[in-house]
C-alpha cells in the first residue's frame, strides 16, 4: 500500500503557545496585584475598575480560561495530529477557534472591570459572551472530531479519550450553568434561585476544575510524558480504569463546596462520599505518571522538562489528596471560607497546571522551530524559582487558613467568642498575605524568564509551519469478528466514546440535581420571606457589580461559633427569591447574611466611603463612587418583569409602579441619613446598597 504524504500544522500550535505565554503573564500579574490589595488597600488604585471585587474574577478567568485554556489547545493541536497521523480537519476552523477564543478573552478583560458579571464563580461572564464561548467550543469540537474521522491510526490513544471527555463535559457544564434571563445587553438573572442555583453553580464549579484543569491535563500528561522520557506509559490498563472512574466520580462531588449550608443533607452526604472515592482515580493518574519514569530517574537530573513534569505530578497528588480530606465535614468546618482553600487551589494551579504547561512548552517550542532550547541554565533557574514560589505561596496561606479558622471558633471559658471582632482575625494574618505575594512574585519572575528563553529559542530557529510526514491510510476493516473484545471496539469508535462519556457524566449530575429541583420538601418555604423591594433589588445588583461576593459570604452555618457571631443560621427557604444566590465561598470579610439592622444607615454610608473610619485596620477597599453615581432606575421595570417571569410573586402590573415605591424608600433612607448630618441625594447608588444591606436576613429576624 502507498503511504500518504501530508503535513502537520505547527503554526496553529505556535499561535496557541504565544497566547498561552501572553495571557499567562497578564493573568498572573493581575493575581499579584490582587494579592497586594489584601494587605494594602491603596493597591486598589482608587478607582472602581481596579478594585479587588472586580478584578479577582479577571484573575481567575485569565489564568483558567486564557492561560490554561490556550495551553490545552496548544497541546491538543500538537498531540492530536500526531496520535491520529492526520493534519487538523480544517485550517480555517483552527484559525476561527484561535481568534474566537482570544476575542472572548479580550471581552472578559473589558467587561469584568466594568462590573458586568453574573456572580457565579468561574462563570462570571455575561450572557452574550457565554453564547460566543458555546459557538467557539463547538467549532473546536467539530475540528477535533473531523480530525478523528480522517485519522490514519485505527485506535484512539488514551490521551484522546481525555480530550473527548473534556469536550463533551465542558459543553454540558457551560450550557447548564448559563441558563439566564437577559434584561439588557450585559445584565441577566439566573433562572435558578437560592439553593438550586448554588447546587448548579458548584456542580459546575467543581467540574470546571475536573474537566478544564484536570482531564485535559491528564491527556496531555499521557502524551507528552512518554515522549519526553522516550518510553511508554507505565500501565495502559491503569490509564483506562482511572479514566472511566475519574469522569464517573468527579461529576458527583460538587456538593462538597456546600457543606453545612442549607443544601439538603442527603446531597451533602453524596458529595462527601464521592469526594472521598475520588482519591483512587486521581492517584491512579499520578502513580501512572511517576512510574513511567521508573528506571529513568537519571534523566530527570539532566532534563529540565522532566523536572517540571515530576513537580507537576507531585502537586497533583498533593492537591487530590487534600481535596477528599477537605471534604470531610470535620475538616471542612474549619477550612471552608478560609485561605486554606486558596492555598489548596494554588497547589493545583501553580504546581499541576502551571508546571505541566511549562514542561510542555520547553519541550515543544524547540521542536516546532527545529532548534535547541536557548538556555538550559535559565530553564533550570525557572524551575527552582517556580518551585520555591509555590512553597512561599502555599505555606503562609495554609498557616493563615488554620490560624483564622481556629480563631473564628475559639471561645473563652465564660462561653463568649474570644475574637468577637472579625477584624482581629484578619489583621493577625496580614503578614502571611505579604509572604504569599512574595511567593507569587517569585513564580511570576520564573514565567518571565521562560518567556525570554522561549523567544530567544524561537529566534534561533525557524518555524516549521507545515511539518512533512507520511503514514499508511487506514485499510478497510474486515468484517468484525464476533469474538473481538468490546473495549477494543470502543477504542476505535470516537462517537461511541463520546456518547458513553456523556451518559457517565450525566448520571451523577442528574441524581444530585433533579430531586432538589422537583421534590418540594427539599426546599421548605418560609411564609415571612418576601421578595425584595425595587430599591433593594437594585442594591443587590450593585452588590453583584462590585463583586462583594468575592469576600463576603451570605450563609451562616449551624455552628455555635457562627450563630454567636452572626445570628440565626441560614435556612433554604430564605433564598427562594435570590436570582442568583450569593452565598460566596470565602470570608475575607465577615458573613453578611444577618447584616440587616446591625448597624445604622450612617455607619454603612461612612463605611462605604472609607471602611477605615469605622473599622480601623480594615482591608476593605473604599467604594466612594457609590456616593456620587446616580442609580439607573430606567431598568427597574425590566428587572421586575424578569423576576416575575422567574416566579417571584410581585403583584400583576407592579413593574409600572415599582419606581414609585423605590422613590419612597430611598427618600426614607436619605431622610434617616440626614438625621446623622449626612447630606445625600436620594437617587445615589449608595442609598440602594444600604437598602439591600439593611434588608439582609431580617425576614426571619422580624418573625422572632
Amino acid at each position: 500500500m502507498q503511504a500518504d504524504k501530508f503535513y502537520y500544522d505547527n503554526k496553529i500550535v505556535r499561535d496557541f503557545a504565544i497566547a498561552t505565554l501572553v495571557w499567562g503573564i497578564i493573568g498572573m500579574t493581575v493575581g499579584l496585584l490582587i494579592a497586594t490589595q489584601l494587605f494594602s488597600p491603596a493597591m486598589n488604585l482608587g478607582n472602581q475598575y481596579t478594585t479587588f471585587g472586580r478584578i479577582r474574577p479577571l484573575h481567575t478567568n485569565a489564568v483558567i480560561f486564557a492561560f490554561v485554556g490556550n495551553a490545552i489547545f496548544m497541546s491538543v493541536y500538537y498531540s492530536l495530529q500526531r496520535l491520529l497521523k492526520a493534519r487538523m480537519f480544517s485550517d480555517a476552523l483552527s484559525k476561527i477557534h484561535f481568534w474566537g477564543w482570544q476575542l472572548i478573552i479580550v471581552a472578559a478583560v473589558i467587561t469584568l472591570p466594568l462590573g458586568f458579571t453574573s456572580s457565579h464563580e468561574y462563570a462570571e461572564l455575561e450572557w452574550p459572551i457565554d453564547i460566543a464561548i458555546t459557538v467557539i467550543w463547538v467549532i473546536f469540537g467539530i475540528n477535533m472530531f473531523g480530525t478523528i474521522i480522517k485519522r490514519r491510526e485505527r485506535h484512539l490513544y488514551v490521551a484522546i479519550w481525555f480530550y473527548i471527555a473534556t469536550f463533551i463535559t465542558v459543553a454540558v457544564l457551560h450550557i447548564v450553568n448559563s441558563f439566564q434571563l437577559p434584561i439588557s445587553a450585559f445584565k441577566s438573572y439566573y433562572i435558578y434561585a437560592g439553593v438550586q442555583d448554588a447546587l448548579v453553580q458548584w456542580w459546575y464549579g467543581h467540574n470546571a476544575v475536573a474537566f478544564f484543569l484536570t482531564t485535559p491535563y491528564l491527556g496531555m500528561m499521557y502524551y507528552f510524558l512518554p515522549k519526553m522520557a522516550n518510553r511508554p506509559i507505565y500501565s495502559y490498563r491503569l490509564s483506562i480504569l482511572h479514566f472511566w472512574a475519574l469522569i464517573f466520580i468527579y461529576i458527583w462531588a460538587g456538593p462538597h463546596h456546600l457543606l453545612y449550608t442549607s443544601l439538603p443533607g442527603w446531597a451533602q452526604s453524596v458529595g462527601v462520599a464521592f469526594s472521598i472515592m475520588l482519591i483512587a482515580p486521581s492517584w491512579g493518574g499520578m502513580i501512572n505518571g511517576l512510574l513511567t519514569l521508573r528506571g529513568a530517574w537519571d534523566k530527570v537530573r539532566d532534563d529540565v522538562t522532566l523536572k517540571f513534569m515530576v513537580v507537576a505530578l507531585t502537586c497533583y497528588g498533593m492537591a487530590t489528596f487534600e481535596g477528599p480530606m477537605l471534604s470531610l465535614k470535620g475538616v471542612n468546618a474549619i477550612a471552608h471560607f478560609t485561605d486554606w482553600i486558596v492555598a489548596h487551589v494554588h497547589v493545583g494551579a501553580l504546581g499541576w497546571n502551571g508546571f505541566l504547561t511549562f514542561g510542555i512548552m520547553y519541550w515543544l517550542v524547540p521542536r516546532i522551530y527545529k532548534t535547541k532550547l536557548y538556555s538550559h541554565k535559565l530553564a533550570t533557574f525557572h524551575f527552582w524559582i517556580g518551585t520555591l514560589g509555590i512553597l512561599f505561596y502555599a505555606i503562609p496561606l495554609y498557616w493563615a487558613g488554620f490560624t483564622q479558622g481556629l480563631m473564628w471558633k475559639e471561645f473563652t471559658p465564660e462561653g463568649l467568642l474570644k475574637y468577637s471582632n472579625f477584624l482581629e482575625t484578619v489583621t493577625r494574618i496580614l503578614p502571611m498575605y505579604i509572604m504569599r505575594s512574595i511567593g507569587g512574585a517569585m513564580y511570576l519572575t520564573g514565567v518571565l524568564v521562560m518567556a525570554y528563553n522561549l523567544v530567544k529559542t524561537a529566534k534561533s530557529g525557524k518555524l516549521v509551519s507545515n511539518e512533512y510526514t507520511e503514514a499508511l491510510p487506514l485499510p478497510v476493516l474486515p468484517v468484525e469478528s464476533k469474538r473481538e473484545f468490546w473495549h477494543r471496539k470502543i477504542e476505535r469508535k470516537p462517537m461511541t466514546m463520546l456518547v458513553l462519556s456523556l451518559i457517565v457524566i450525566l448520571i451523577g449530575g442528574m441524581v444530585e440535581m433533579l430531586p432538589t429541583f422537583f421534590i418540594k420538601s427539599n426546599v421548605p418555604t418560609i411564609s415571612s420571606v418576601k421578595p425584595y423591594t425595587p430599591l433593594e433589588l437594585h442594591g443587590r445588583d450593585l452588590y453583584i457589580r462590585e463583586g462583594c461576593v468575592n469576600c463576603h459570604s451570605q450563609t451562616v452555618r449551624p455552628f455555635r461559633s457562627e450563630t454567636e457571631r452572626y445570628g440565626e443560621y441560614s435556612k433554604a427557604g430564605e433564598f427562594v427569591y435570590d436570582h442568583p444566590f450569593l452565598w460566596g465561598s470565602k470570608r475575607t470579610g465577615p458573613d453578611l447574611h444577618r447584616e440587616g439592622g446591625k448597624y445604622s444607615n450612617a455607619w454603612h454610608y461612612n463605611h462605604m466611603m472609607d471602611p477605615r473610619t469605622m473599622s480601623p485596620g480594615s482591608i476593605m477597599p473604599n467604594f466612594d463612587w457609590l456616593l456620587d453615581q446616580k442609580l439607573d432606575t430606567t431598568t427597574t421595570a425590566a428587572k421586575i418583569r424578569a423576576m416575575q417571569t422567574l416566579g417571584v410573586p410581585y403583584p400583576k402590573g407592579y413593574d409600572a409602579i415599582a419606581n414609585q415605591d423605590l422613590d419612597k424608600q430611598s427618600e426614607e433612607i436619605a431622610a434617616n441619613l440626614a438625621l446623622d448630618k449626612i447630606k445625600v441625594k436620594k437617587d445615589k447608588e449608595i442609598v440602594a446598597i444600604i437598602a439591600y444591606l439593611q434588608r439582609l436576613g431580617i425576614d426571619i429576624k422580624n418573625k422572632n
Binding site: H155, I240, F248, I519
Partner: protein, 58 residues
C-alpha cells in the same frame, strides 16, 4: 414530565443506592474487562505516542 417521574419515587435512599449500584457494576465490569485485555494490544496502544518519526531530538 420529570416532575411526575421524580415525585413517584419512594425516597432519596433508593435513588442513591441505585446510582451506587450502577457505578459499582460499571467499575467491576471495567476491571474484569481490563484484566482480560490482551498483552499485545496493550503494548500496541501504549506505543502509539512513540511512533511519530518526524521528531528531531535535541
Amino acid at each position: 414530565m420529570f416532575k411526575q417521574f421524580i415525585n413517584t419515587l419512594q425516597g432519596d435512599e433508593v435513588f442513591m443506592l441505585i446510582s451506587l449500584m450502577i457505578f459499582l457494576l460499571f467499575f467491576i465490569g471495567a476491571t474484569i474487562a481490563l484484566i482480560k485485555m490482551k498483552k499485545n494490544h496493550i503494548n500496541y496502544m501504549s506505543n502509539i505516542p512513540l511512533e511519530d518519526k518526524t521528531e528531531t531530538y535535541n
